[in-house]
């Protein structure tokens, strides 16, 4: 079984930076200023949360990093892999909804990025199996999305983002629509994956508790157009688990982040 393509060594960007945004802003065609100007640097292997009120441009920032839309001004830099064969940075994207193709199986959904890259079938099968195993859904490869629960669908979506072994994982409020227990479980699984795979993760959320629990650094954004309002490093002992969720440390960080976030909401006039 051939699998070398999957195990390319990941390498930090020039200055150890995975992503750097400089003076990035986005104004939509309708004239609405959605974002910025925003400066943001994310180190390779770092887990960063973007936290802010709804509509502050967090998702826009992710789309800009992914290259799904172009900034109105400023520059977006994303570190490439060392092998020159790849023209585009390797990025995995997880949307707020699972965003699965309902007409085909879990296996086909997870394998989509490989299929689009014309990967050989045998190699793709091995990678799909690996990705599904990572999210604990190996035995559901032949199910259809329709047959899965909300949490399982989100896991499939995560497996699809992981299947290309990307350097950077962009997650846009991925667990917002799930119930609390499922969300806690997926938070833990995501942390475990991050510890093992050491990907750069940029995680958009509007939950203070989720951002503190998951990330090494919480970036608090202002109301629209979103700018950087505060950066709070979360230096807790690793690995985090349920005991961290109930610790005084955790409560303290949550209070600090909430306080940093409060001004972002004050200007909204009860919105």
């Amino acid at each position: 079984m051939a699998e070398p393509a999957a195990s390319l060594p990941t390498r930090p960007g020039p200055a150890g930076l995975a992503v750097s945004l400089r003076g990035v802003s986005k104004v939509y065609d309708s004239g609405v200023a959605a974002l910025g100007p925003l400066d943001l640097e994310v180190r390779s292997g770092e887990f960063v949360s973007l936290l802010g009120p709804s509509g502050c441009g967090k998702s826009t920032a992710l789309r800009l990093i992914a290259g799904l839309s172009a900034p109105t001004s400023g520059s977006v830099g994303v570190a490439h892999r060392s092998d020159a064969a790849r023209a585009r940075p390797s990025i995995g994207f997880v949307f707020q909804e699972p965003t699965l193709m309902p007409w085909t199986s879990v296996r086909e959904n997870v394998g989509l990025p490989l299929k689009l890259a014309h990967a050989p079938v045998a190699e793709a099968d091995a990678l799909i199996h690996q990705a599904l195993t990572q999210v604990g859904l190996a035995e559901f490869a032949d199910s259809f999305p329709r047959e899965l629960s909300g949490g399982m669908k989100m896991r499939v979506s995560l497996a699809r983002a992981l299947v290309t072994d990307p350097d950077i994982l962009l997650m846009d409020e991925p667990f917002a629509a799930l119930d609390e227990i499922t969300r806690f479980r997926l938070n833990n699984d995501l942390l475990a994956l991050w510890r093992n795979l050491r990907k750069t993760v940029i995680f958009v959320t509007h939950s203070v508790f989720e951002s503190v629990y998951l990330s090494q650094r919480v970036v608090v954004m202002t109301a629209r157009p979103g700018r950087l309002s505060a950066e709070i490093p979360i230096d807790s002992s690793e690995p985090r688990g349920e005991e961290f969720r109930t610790s005084a440390d955790y409560a303290g960080y949550c209070r600090r982040v909430s306080e940093a976030l409060a001004p972002s909401y004050s200007g909204q006039g009860g919105a």
């Binding site: 023209a87 007409w103 989509l112 329709r146």
Partner: protein, 278 residues
Amino acid sequence: MSSLQPPHLAARQATPDSGRLRLVRILLPAVVLAAGVALWEAVVRLYDIPPYVLPGPSAVFATLVGDWPVLSQSLLTTLQTTLEGFVAAGFGGVALALLFNQSKWLEYSLFPYAVILQVTPVIAIAPLLLIYLPQQTAVIVCAWIVAFFPVLSNTTLGLNSVDRNLAGLFQLYGASRMQTLRYLKLPSALPFILGGLRIAGGLSLIGTVVAEIAAGAAGAGSGLAYRIAESGYRLNIPRMFAALLLLSAAGIVIYGLLALTSHLVLRRWHESALGKEN
């Protein structure tokens, strides 16, 4: 937020006695049919109505059996034309929609004419077509004109209803136009295309019948509609009824086949084809 859905009240109420309900839904129309036929037969016999005014069901049935060699030949002709028109409409509609989807210029230039073809009554176009085209071709073109539009408009709707995030995902992974079309747009549009085809099946039968009738007097055709026109001139009313019966049956079978196809293709994933239980 968007995941909030109203509970399936209708489904819940239907489950306890859905078996009996289904039986009733089959039985009731059957009873109505039997009653109607019986009444018809009774009226014809009671008032001694001659068959050239109104034949009873038994006379129609006897004609159906007696004239079967002629009628079956006509049925085959009509079905073949309908099929050809349907296939042409299916391919034509989907192909046009794909072209329009790839090029806005083409869409802007041609779509108004597709609408004009659709809104102009085909029965008014048919005589002209019969002048300029060989009869068999004219009939197929008529069937195509009536039937292609629902396929075109449904497919267009389907191609434009692609999930935005999925489209973003394809963009992220550098999908080519062809890949996006094949793996994303066409599967997304499939339920819409099948819906269009279901309408097109019945319409191509109508188009065929219209053209056959228009050709009727002068035509050398032998389709069912031609039989109806011809029998009308000869006051062979029972045969008119028998041919009409066959046309209805053909329409029902076409619709049933297309609905079944649609169900089989979509049953694993699309809401429209899933049972109430899951």
